[in-house]
């Protein structure tokens, strides 16, 4: 069990800046995120797209913003727990015990939910029977590519993941690549490669097809795909892979007893605390009258929530307001040496 002052859920810009604000006032925190890296929507949805409304930064990309925030919190040595989602929450006396789906446990004085629009989960096939095969012969990511050796794999999707895995697996497996249109969103070089492999008979490319149904007993035997014009083909398949990107879902937070309206957590605007004492919500996930879904609003919310956390972490101390330009304590925490 990791004992610290604050657990931040979500490593997007808002969560990262909140960690900074906690560090400045002398509180320790740990960050959990379901993605494999920090940055949240900035890094997952638009790493290369420019952002023009970060105060004093005329233009930067999602990736640059994330890297700068990480640089800014470096002095505080914040620990990240990636690839996992918070699952259970328990109140133990005046502290919170939180457990992730990777069995990591935290004992904290307060929690800051900076979960954006929810945790990123793979987008799934609309076909109902797919659920039955999920995890045994149908996957949304590849964990162990060895299981595909000498098997027939049907890959659905037109982005980089679909193309890259089709190319990679075509070395050792029989690969069908199925996509809903002729165009692809993946890299042009990969598209060319897939077309070459298709011409050489190493990949069977089916464009303008989508999944119609899957069948099999315990594992998948075959998949039916349907052309835009209505023609249906049945292709033998041992495994199915679907790559449709990620969608954001609130997940277990929904069951924590928070006041939630339209996928947003209600907070006060004094310190962004929720209806549950010691649990705060900031950034896109919180709602209050006048809420703007801007990164800069998330920064403001994080600064106030960090101060709200203080009384739970250090109930016997009083928090004094200080500026980083003049506060010796803050500068010490930032690792700045003054002569």
């Amino acid at each position: 069990m990791i004992k610290t002052d604050v657990l931040i859920i979500g490593a997007g810009p808002t969560g990262l800046f909140c960690a900074h604000q906690l560090g400045i006032i002398g509180l320790k925190c740990e960050i959990v995120d379901n993605l494999d890296k920090a940055g949240g929507q900035c890094i997952e949805l638009y790493p290369d797209k420019p952002i023009y409304d970060i105060p004093a930064i005329p233009e930067c990309t999602g990736e640059e913003l994330t890297n700068n925030l990480l640089k800014q919190i470096k002095p505080f040595n914040v620990n990240f727990h990636l690839n996992q989602r918070v699952e259970e929450l328990k109140k133990v006396e005046n502290r919170w015990h939180v457990k992730t789906n990777d069995n990591k446990e935290f004992d904290v004085a307060s929690i800051v939910i900076a979960g954006g629009v929810g945790s990123f989960e793979p987008r799934k096939f609309p076909v109902k029977e797919c659920k039955k095969f999920e995890g045994n012969s149908l996957f949304y990511s590849v964990k162990d590519k060895k299981i595909f050796k000498d098997k027939t794999i049907s890959i659905f999707g037109g982005g980089d993941s679909a193309l890259d895995w089709a190319i990679e697996l075509s070395n050792t497996s029989k690969v069908n690549l199925i996509h809903r249109r002729d165009g692809f969103s993946g890299a042009e070089s990969s598209v060319q490669k897939v077309k070459e492999l298709n011409d050489q008979g190493k990949i069977n490319l089916y464009t303008k097809y989508q999944m119609e149904s899957v069948s099999g007993e315990n594992k998948i035997d075959s998949v039916k795909i349907k052309h835009d014009e209505g023609e249906v083909k049945e292709i033998k398949s041992d495994y199915i892979l679907g790559f449709f990107g990620l969608i954001m879902q609130l997940g277990p937070i929904l069951d924590w007893g928070l006041n939630i309206d339209k996928k947003k957590v209600e907070v006060n605007t004094e310190n962004f605390e929720t209806n549950i004492n010691g649990i705060f919500a900031i950034g896109d996930i919180c709602s209050y009258p006048g809420k703007l879904k801007l990164i800069l609003s998330g920064f403001h919310e994080g600064a106030l929530a960090a101060r709200g956390c203080f009384k739970y972490a250090k109930p016997d101390e009083k928090l004094r307001f200080e500026f980083t330009t003049t506060s010796k304590a803050a500068q010490e925490r930032l690792g700045i040496k003054n002569d």
Binding site: L45, V117, G159, R180, D228, F244, G245
Partner: protein, 106 residues
């Protein structure tokens, strides 16, 4: 003000006055039309404002950018008449537009 009709999956019809210049997505969000999530807030990066446009309106709409078509690859059950409603800007030409909201967005 142009009228936009949103048919939701539960077979309800919502006809709403949407101001010129707003997007079809914003018209839905501001009026609590169920089924349009718009998680990314109109950044063409999530495909949760996906709608099916009635055929007769397709050629009156702005042409899809590549980015929109790429995002539609990720949408729930995309069809030929699929669009992202955040990319449809309301104008007098679209007065009477009918869109159908898919059974779910993810």
């Amino acid at each position: 003000m142009p009228k936009i009709t949103y048919n939701t999956h539960d077979n309800k019809t919502h006809t709403i006055d949407v101001q010129n210049g707003l997007t079809v997505m914003e018209g839905a969000i501001q009026n609590d039309i169920p089924g349009i999530d718009a998680d990314c807030g109109g950044g063409m990066s999530c495909a949760t404002c996906h709608v099916y446009v009635n055929e007769e309106w397709l050629d009156k709409l702005s042409v899809k950018e590549d980015g929109e078509e790429d995002m539609l690859d990720m949408a729930f059950e995309p069809k030929k008449n699929s669009r992202l409603s955040c990319q449809l800007i309301v104008s007098d030409t679209l007065d009477g537009l009918v869109v159908n909201i898919p059974s779910k967005q993810g």
